[in-house]
């Protein structure tokens, strides 16, 4: 901890800090929406910001891969002319929890694969991220420890930890350094304050334990055994295929690309919009055949896309434990429960083989 760069933001300077950030460029932060819901929205003063919040309705991906984004402008007809378009704006995100930071790290890997997605990468480079530590669980739906996302693991410019009268701030990048220098809201760290941070992290290690009784590294094996599990059939009856679980997921990045002509029927744009593997038309192809007609198969696909497939491709889980999919599901499809049931079922089978 000593050799890295820490500063202190006193609570009395917090208002000023937020105002200065908002003056610099567009600032977004978690804002209460009522009914235990929060959303990242533009703010210009500290009074709007919720420092204690449960994961927002939509994750940060809405800033990194907008719901609708123009990729190309073209003129149709003879001698088609087309020009690539990249839409971006300078943006500061304040208050990202570690689960959401992990989500952005996942998306960064996906969109950096070749062929690189310059729309995403250009936009990402214009976004400054200020993280905020969870000192305790947000609610019973989170499973961040299971996927190693309950402690800061990079992916931010500044990272704030609330220690009562002050925040201790980890400065992680040059952009973070510049914010510290330009806002002049920060003080030097005293050793006792670093001690406090260490104490908090120790306390957190006692609070945050794997939310499902399995060692993190054993999850892929569990999924290797579970492709034909009964659990998926159970989900068939419950899932409404509303797509909420994927839309609110910080790492679901599937999109659809569409063309649209304007009213001259000559000039058009090509744009992409969010799509979801849970929706009826997602795997429907020409001729009307649907590769994933059953909702159980779609739900299974979603779980494998979080816990199995990305392990092979990106060497990390694409679940960040934020709990959004469970919180949003009207049919009470619960990620922790599903994993527990998979475990139980798989253990039953192992025992049967032994007996």
């Amino acid at each position: 901890m000593e050799d890295t760069h820490y500063v202190v933001l006193k609570k009395e300077n917090f208002d000023q800090f937020i105002s200065l950030l908002a003056q610099k460029q567009k600032l977004v932060a978690p804002v209460p929406k009522g009914f235990k819901s929060f959303a990242f929205e533009p703010v210009d003063s500290a009074s709007q910001v919720a420092l204690k919040y449960i994961p927002t309705v939509l994750p940060l991906k809405k800033y990194f891969m907008p719901q609708r984004e123009t990729l190309l402008e073209y003129t149709a007809g003879k001698g088609v002319k087309a020009e690539a378009v990249v839409e971006y704006e300078s943006l500061t995100i304040f208050g990202a929890h570690t689960c959401d930071l992990a989500g952005i790290q996942c998306l960064n890997m996906v969109f950096s694969e070749r062929p690189k997605d310059y729309n995403y990468l250009t936009r990402k480079n214009k976004i400054t991220i200020i993280g905020l530590e969870c000192n305790e669980y947000c609610d019973e739906y989170a499973s961040c420890n299971l996927v190693d996302a309950s402690f800061p693991g990079g992916g931010y410019d500044l990272f704030l930890t609330d220690l009562g009268d002050y925040f201790i701030v980890h400065v992680n990048t040059r952009a973070g350094d510049e914010i510290v220098a330009s806002t002049r809201s920060f003080d030097k760290t005293e050793l006792s304050q670093l001690d406090e941070l260490r104490k908090l992290r120790d306390a957190k290690r006692k609070i945050f334990v794997n939310e499902v009784p399995i060692e993190t590294k054993h999850i892929p094996e569990l999924f290797d055994r579970s492709f034909r599990a009964r659990v998926w059939k159970d989900l068939e009856a419950r899932c409404l295929a509303c797509g909420n679980c994927t839309n609110v997921c910080p790492t679901c990045y599937c999109f659809d690309v569409r063309d649209e002509l304007d009213l001259t029927l000559k000039n058009g744009i090509r744009y992409r919009v969010w799509d979801s593997c849970q929706l009826e038309p997602f795997a429907k192809v020409a001729g009307g055949f649907n590769f994933r007609k059953e909702r159980s198969v779609r739900q299974r696909h979603r779980y494998y896309r979080k816990f199995r497939y990305p392990v092979e491709r990106f060497a990390r889980y694409f679940c960040t434990g934020c709990g959004r999919c469970t919180r949003t599901c009207m049919a009470d499809i619960n990620l922790k429960e599903t994993l527990n049931e998979l475990l139980k079922e798989s253990e039953d089978r192992v025992w049967k083989r032994w007996l």
Partner: protein, 246 residues
Amino acid sequence: MKKPKVAFFDFACCEGCQLQVANMGETVLDVLGLIEVVEWREVMSEKWGKKVDVAVVEGSITDPHAVKRIKKIRKRAGAVIAYGSCATIGGVNGMKNNFPLEDIKHYVYGDSHRFFPTEQTKAVHQVVPVDYFVHGCPVYIPEFVAVLKAALQGIPYYPPDYPVCVECKLNENVCMYDRGVSCLGPVTRAGCNSWCINNGNICYGCRGMVSNPNEKGAQDVIAKYKIPMELVLNKMNMYNKCRELD
């Protein structure tokens, strides 16, 4: 290029969807740059009566006269766009089908009912083939424009076949069920950009149901939130009664 001829027709409806189109603001100029409107009772006096490239039909089919008229319109139209819930799913007129026709006739027309033959309410596609659907009560103008463009290009338009929840979630609304209010969003076809919920109202299901709804699952959800099934069925029948005739 000669502009395609487009005619607007109405059957049993409030003509509110036509009003939506007439009120679309600046876009109407661009639309008029693209088409020639030859018949439209609500906004012009001229009649055309001959072949048209696109017929835009509002309202549901509720009596023998309407059946004849829509068949004629179908014959002289290249493509038929059904627009508005009354035309695409029967809409609120479908509530008529909750009662025996005889009762309805007596209730509405009293002793003169024999002068007013009537039938069960039907959506337009339940009487003649329809090429394009613009769902909604009223229609959502951006979708109407998209469908019109598709019709003029001769390409298909697929209304979204997923629930309103998708768009509602993208708009980051607080879920109506979290507010303790029942909402038909989870089983209703999207495409309206969750218009009503964005403005604090619930979804009434005016765009019809998704093609493959999980009805059992939806019932479980309704039970979980302790909403009386009767209430939900009533809400469902407000717009979707004609679904039984599909």
